[in-house]
Amino acid sequence: MKDELETGGVSRRTLMVSLGGGAAVTTAMTLVPGLSLAGEAEVQAIIDQMAEGTPVDGGVELDLPEIAENGNTVPVTVTVDAPMTADSYVKTVMVMADGNPQAEVARFNFTPACGTASASTRMRLAGTQTIIAAAQMNDGSTMVGRKLVKVTIGGCGG
């Protein structure tokens, strides 16, 4: 039941690409020979664990290339639209990739001293997939942003 709901967010193209590649990423339980992928369910589990209350969509911007030619190093910048004061600030931002063997990519831990909740890194992507960033404020409320990135050559295994 849950899977059916969650795959609702996956575009037909993403689904077809995954299926075409022999990797049906409908559930995290699907085992592909040699490589099991994280899947939407694992991402959701991490968000649920972080969030106090219901996570809200929006407020988190992901800056990613639309098409990444090389999945070995894909630049990513995450920016949260929130004040950074001692009373109200972004505490952590978890960047996740649902089509990688492990969903977590990086967790940025901010403090009010940062001035702005924005950070960048470079990541490996196994294939075309959605990048998810969940930002948690100091009061526990959580915002989620998503962006699809197309990967020409995957950056896993080898």
Binding site: L35, N72, T73, V74, T77, M84, A97, N100, P101, Q102, E104, V105, A106, R107, F108, N109, F110, T111, A113, C114, G115, T116, S118, A119, S120, T121, R122, M123, R124, L125, G155, C156, G157, G158
Partner: protein, 108 residues
């Protein structure tokens, strides 16, 4: 592995209240634990798992890294210039090694 050398790009001076960007890079293979060698054996995971930045001994920013972070991990972030002092950057390796770099910043 080549000698590990951290690199940090941070302004030496900043105006009070200015938001400055700090860019960091360290050469490291970030072996994911997913790859296999020619004999079919899994190459054990060895990554930098944590990166911490302190200003005058107080933690201002940190990052937990997972195997999906690319080799030679790059992390960039911002700081609001509010006090002069020493910025210390530490990278923690899976094998227990710690790599460190320091930059001083003058806030006027």
């Amino acid at each position: 592995m080549a000698k590990i050398r951290p690199r940090v790009k941070a302004p030496k001076k900043a105006a009070m209240g200015e938001i400055i960007e700090i860019k960091t890079l360290i050469n490291h293979a970030m072996e994911s634990g997913q790859r296999k060698d020619s004999g079919g054996n899994t190459i054990p995971r060895q990554i930098i798992n944590r990166f911490v930045v302190t200003l005058n001994g107080r933690e201002v920013f940190s990052t937990d890294l997972f195997p999906s972070v690319s080799a030679n991990p790059y992390v960039a972030f911002f700081l609001k210039a509010e006090e002069s002092g020493d910025l210390t950057f530490t990278w923690h390796d899976d094998d227990g090694s710690v790599y460190e770099d320091t930059k001083s910043i003058e806030v006027a």
